[in-house]
Amino acid sequence: MNVLAGGPVIPNFGSGSSCEQTNGWWCTDWLSAHWGDTLQPALVQHVELSLIAVGIGFAFSLVLALAGYRFRLLDPPIGVVADFLYTIPSLALFQLLVPLTGLTVTTVEIALVSYTLLILYRNIVAGLSGVPADALEAARGMGFTRLQTFVRVELPLAVPAIVAGLRIAVVSTISIATVAAFVIPQGLGRPIFIALNQDLFKTEILAAGGLAIALALVADGLLVLAQRALTPWSRA
């Protein structure tokens, strides 16, 4: 706990506004004073941490899923490894990486990426496996090559399953990224830790926590919109 004490923003119960002195739930004056130096940077860092993790996780999962889909023998072992990584508690995984990669963003990203693998891998494989045999037959009949079949038939038809996986991965990554504040002073977990150390300053906990939840919901909503744009046929 005391690991993360200090930092630039300490609500001053002694000389702050009356709301701060009584540790109020929603001190507007504190929020407007510290949005710029505390909450906004934490939010931006949180978005960065999550985007990088999901981006790398998606790239890895896509490659692994293509391997698992083409070579069925690879599917069970990849699934078991992903399942194994997913089971390790986030706080423990962060700490287990510290002796190797230190208290760095790399540590956090390795852990966050590991957690996306299971969800994304399973969903991409399920999406590709769920493509109807008729569609593949039709593609062959039209003289599509293997690559054309993949890009123009299999991948588009797998989009709903892939987006479903991405939604879960993005939301859970945003959630787990709050725990990253245990190892690096970044993300929305950081102001929460500081507030916990400052006599549980409620406004800061509520604001940072609320931002994390709002971020997850907004990201989820954006992915739903993206799926609609990518699969216009599903609305017909």
Partner: protein, 223 residues
Amino acid sequence: MIVADQFQPSTFVDAFRFIGDHGHLLLQKTGEHLELSLASLGIALVLALPLGLWLGHLRRGLFVALGVSSVGRALPSLVLIAFGLTVLGVGFWNNTAALTILAIPSILTNAYFGIAGVDRDVVEAARGMGLSERQILLRVELPLGLPLVLAGIRIATIFVLATATIAAIAGGGGLGEIIVNQASYGLEGVVGASFCVSALTLLAALLLGLVARAASPRHLSDT
């Protein structure tokens, strides 16, 4: 603060030495960890399982099941524990409440979809044979939907065991108390406890996986 900014794989050796030297402490913390986790899981099961099964049987409340699962996923465990800490204060019940809330979504949603996904013809056949609604749920739908229901409980268990680690910041005790207390236990203690809690979750996942396999209907598991 002890900073490990460079590559120190020897810490793993020290971590295993720590595990060897502090067996008693680790056992005690594991006990606390299990106590907190099982209490939360128990409450979540009592609240969510009957509701999920019944809603699934009625095939109503899809909106509830989906809403609970997506809101549940968006709730960061750290945020929930911090909220609980401000509202309920430090201690066992704050953490139990937070962990219970985190365990409910996957239990509820999987129970709902497990039961609602059972073939309607089978349910109609059972109704035609004169089974009561309760009998239909317990003797027909539950056995058929059991794999999915158990998968939800497995996910919730892993999630609760993992989050109980974070609960240490709110006085929850357990193995997380060592992990968040590097000042007292050193990095080797932190890494050692991380190994222990990982082993605990993996063991739980494995056990529940075996239970799920044993409980799934034979003729279905063959396909």
